[in-house]
Amino acid sequence: SQTIHQWPATLVQPVGSPLSLECTVEGTSNPNLYWYRQAAGRGLQLLFYSVGIGQISSEVPQNLSASRPQDRQFILSSKKLLLSDSGFYLCAWSVRYGGQLLREQYFGPGTRLTVT
């Protein structure tokens, strides 16, 4: 069965510090991978998605970046955090589209980031 891991679960970082959040998926190959951010009590904002190694699509211009160094690894980074970067960061995967209807997304447990 497939499993998605995210770490850390919670993180408190000062403004201006760097960030690295990691997401890994087990039990599947060639998944689509996604990073979302959810502000407190708000909806899901898609930040980045990837359909393959080294392929990153950015949805929202900001001080965050993403990388996919391996098929089942997705990393979210920042060189300098802003207060507005606080939120709940969720990684998700889905089966690649491949001509079929878009499949459902499976979310990881998330990382709660507080920038102070």
Binding site: N32, L46, Y49, E59, L102
Partner: protein, 112 residues
């Protein structure tokens, strides 16, 4: 781009009452997916609807896709405290890209 509007934003019910959330679009949708996010948790996929007029049931939950494929609803019969959470609808973006666009969600609270 494709957008889906969800109403209401919040809903508070007494345990045992019914609950409905609606997802609307100005354009025809290829599909609609529903997710549930428990407080403090992550979204969990519930169901996908594809066909015009489609109705699917999961125990006390009934999902509908409108005849024109421009709206969808999730109805919960006789809510329980375990139903609390935020319910999101989501659909594929126009052009068949490999990403979803989510509604802003309906937050359900249930008073025991």
């Amino acid at each position: 781009g494709q957008q889906v509007m969800q109403i209401p934003q919040y809903q508070h019910v007494q345990e045992g009452e019914d609950f409905t959330t609606y997802c609307n679009s100005s354009t025809t949708l290829s599909n609609i997916q529903w997710y549930k996010q428990r407080p403090g948790g992550h979204p969990v996929f519930l169901i996908q609807l594809v066909k015009s007029g489609e109705v699917k049931k999961q125990k006390r939950l009934t999902f509908q896709f409108g005849e024109a494929k421009k709206n969808s609803s999730l109805h919960i019969t006789a809510t329980q405290t375990t139903d609390v959470g935020t319910y999101f609808c989501a659909t594929i973006t126009q052009g068949g890209s490999e990403k979803l666009v989510f509604g802003k969600g309906t937050k359900l609270t249930v008073n025991p």
